[in-house]
């Protein structure tokens, strides 16, 4: 990777990297999307997060995106990203940031927790570019959902129109399990 040729360019890269770090980006994303050196990115990361970045490889399989809850969130993100691209207001990594902000806003408005991290979103866009995954319109509701590439569109039914029996229940069941556990504890004589 070439070093930044001008101070202005470097300043813009630092701002970009800082925003990505605030959104939770991992080192691989920062190294790929900015021209800052690894040392400078590490310093910046520690300055903002007060911790070292997590080590290790990024997940490289498309399977995670096909499981029920991640698929719904990833589909929402991909639709938003396409909208950003269509609006022509942002390109490349800036479109990623804009779409991720929109995703967070939407998830926040719905009142649930984000499932897709910005690093996952970035990986997803790369899978998309590599044509490993695609958006396929559901034959039932018409909404476009993330699927493996070459999914036959005629027979495709999305995960919400045809919900698997236990999908989406993990969060609530975890909550009830906790509250049940607390009740049991408080019911026990001290």
């Amino acid at each position: 990777m070439t070093r930044p040729e001008s101070i202005e360019r470097e300043a813009a890269d630092v701002c970009l990297a800082a925003e990505l770090i605030r959104l939770g980006a991992r080192m691989q994303l920062l190294e790929a999307e900015t021209s800052l050196s690894r040392e400078r990115l590490l310093k910046l990361y520690k300055e903002i997060r007060h911790a070292s970045p997590p080590k290790g490889m990024l997940p490289f399989s498309t399977d995670w995106f096909m499981t029920w809850q991640p698929n719904v969130h990833a589909s929402l993100f991909m639709n938003l990203h396409r909208r950003v691209r269509q609006s022509g207001a942002a390109e490349g990594v800036h479109a990623l940031i804009a779409a991720y902000h929109l995703y967070l806003d939407q998830i926040d408005a719905i009142g649930t927790d984000p499932v897709l991290s910005i690093t996952r979103a970035w990986t997803l866009l790369r899978f998309f570019e590599a044509e490993l995954v695609q958006l396929t319109p559901c034959s039932c509701c018409g909404g476009e959902f993330l699927t493996h590439a070459y999914e036959p569109a005629k027979t495709f039914v999305c995960g919400i129109c045809h919900m698997p029996s236990r999908a989406g229940s993990s969060r609530t069941s975890a909550k009830t399990a906790i509250s049940r556990g607390q009740k049991r504890l408080s019911a026990q004589p001290a």
């Binding site: 719904v72 929402l76 609006s87 207001a89 800036h94 649930t112 034959s139 989406g168």
Partner: protein, 114 residues
């Protein structure tokens, strides 16, 4: 029966809409374009609109904010049925942010039967 022309209401609605849209566009054009469904040119024009013109625009007896979706999409978004409220809202969001080209393609309401 009184003739109600909603003139003040329309002006207030327009004014709120224009002020909000202008603030959003100035702050973050990309997100404003997606959230409000503005085209790039409209967004640029709105960002530079002086207050006097903004007020004049608002006083026209024309509702400026318009529905972005055709009736079939609106119907599907509002009447979304799923196992729980959260999933239904997520589904509606995905439908809303989907591409608009299926406007003409889908006319039958297959969703109602399922």
């Amino acid at each position: 029966m009184d003739h109600e022309d909603f003139a003040d209401e329309i002006r207030d609605l327009n004014l709120s809409y224009l002020i909000l849209a202008q603030r959003m566009v100035q702050r973050d054009p990309a997100s404003a374009a997606v959230k409000l469904g503005l085209e790039a040119e409209t967004a640029r024009w709105l960002a530079a609109l002086p207050p006097a013109k903004l007020v004049r625009m608002a006083s026209l007896q024309i509702g400026l904010p318009q529905f972005r979706f055709d009736a079939a999409v609106l119907e599907r978004m509002a009447g979304e049925k799923a196992r729980d409220e959260l999933t239904a809202t997520l589904h509606a969001a995905i439908l809303a942010h989907g591409s608009q080209r299926k406007k003409t393609k889908r006319t039958g309401g297959h969703h109602d039967e399922t």
